[in-house]
């Protein structure tokens, strides 16, 4: 039976609850999906900065295509991969608004590569939130550019083969080399501590828009437990063991300068998987 201590449950003792910037709609994401967590921390940042009426989000195509149903801020829906282009237009026409894109790896790193690279190279004054789960989740788990070497997906049933499928695309490192990016970081949402760090990074990304110095790019590593065919807890563990060596977590570029000790030219991307998924 559930324990319920009514003496504690009083409005003055409340320390954490869902922010009002998220609507009450039940999210369509699979149980344990990192999208829900990331939605929540983005909404909390908007709430804490008090910019709910001055924020425009750009929704992508992919699992998070219905993001506009969950955020209680103005949203626009972009064509597949074109969120940075739409964000450019919104920001240039309304320079005082806070504009962010919310994209997955299929949207940002595959079909939208051109828009992403050029928006970052132009140094548009926007925040980009990039969810990397190494798979096309919405369409049933096909190989994405970010799929790890050896990782199984619907279109690579024997694991990703470098000779046939190429190497995983580390687009965050790639974008960090462009002069138009001001803040580039990679975070994850698999533990409470990681969620706090990711939230701080997103907050910094939104605050950077006031400085008008360029793109703030926040990659969030997320598990796709249904695509990887694992339980949510197993998927988070698998992500920590296998995704982190290939996609090291931490700041890559801060205040327009590459962070020391970060090797963005690292060639080795075929860290062997500890356990093959599926």
């Amino acid at each position: 039976m559930a324990i319920m201590n009514q003496d504690i449950v009083k409005p003055e003792n409340l320390v954490y609850t869902k922010t009002k910037v998220l609507t009450d709609a039940v999210m369509h994401y699979c149980p344990g999906c990192g999208h829900g967590t990331t939605h929540r921390i983005v909404a909390e940042v908007i709430d804490e900065l008090g910019i709910q009426d001055k924020t425009v989000g750009i929704a992508p195509v992919g699992c998070s295509v219905l993001a506009y149903n969950y955020f209680d801020v103005d949203f626009e829906e972009a064509a597949h991969g074109r969120a940075p282009a739409l964000a450019t237009a919104v920001k240039r026409l309304n320079p005082d608004l806070y504009v962010f894109t919310y994209q997955g790896d299929g949207d940002l790193a595959a079909i939208g590569t051109a828009e992403t690279i050029h928006a970052c190279n132009r140094g548009e004054n926007i925040t980009m939130v990039f969810i990397n789960n190494g798979i096309y989740g919405m369409t049933g788990g096909q190989m994405a550019p970010t799929t790890l070497v050896g990782m199984k997906s619907q279109t690579t049933p024997y694991g990703r083969n470098v000779e046939r499928n190429g190497y995983p695309l580390r687009i965050t490192e790639l974008l960090a080399t462009l002069p138009g990016t001001y803040y580039v970081t990679r975070q994850s949402v698999h533990t409470p501590a990681a969620v706090r760090k990711a939230k701080a990074a997103i907050k910094k990304g939104f605050e950077n828009q006031k400085l008008k110095k360029g793109v703030s790019f926040i990659e969030i590593l997320s598990s796709c437990n249904s695509g990887w065919k694992m339980t949510p807890v197993q998927a988070n563990k698998w992500m920590e063991e296998n995704m982190f060596p290939n996609y090291p977590v931490g700041d890559i570029k801060v205040d327009g300068k590459i962070v020391e000790n970060v090797d963005i030219n690292r060639i080795v991307v075929d860290h062997p998987l500890t356990v093959v998924n599926q």
Partner: protein
């Protein structure tokens, strides 16, 4: 100084992913044997000992957990 906490789970919206069970440092959360309207085994606090750290609420993808905390 110690803290005493209490979580309230919105059981209708909970999807039973179990991440809060794993995240709880005091191991006081478990998945219920009962299911909600969508057929998920929702999570619930089953033991005394909650310290109100809000780890469960931070990791919850669906934001269904509210945390209350008092000093004691």
């Amino acid at each position: 100084m110690a803290f005493k906490g209490q979580i309230v789970v919105d059981t209708d919206r909970c999807k039973g992913c179990g991440l809060c069970v794993e995240a709880c440092p005091m191991h006081v959360i478990e998945l219920s044997k009962h299911v909600n309207g969508k057929g998920y085994n929702y999570s619930e606090p089953v033991k005394e000992g909650c310290i109100g750290c809000a780890s469960c609420a931070l990791i919850c993808p669906d934001g269904v957990i509210s945390v209350y905390k008092v000093k004691c």
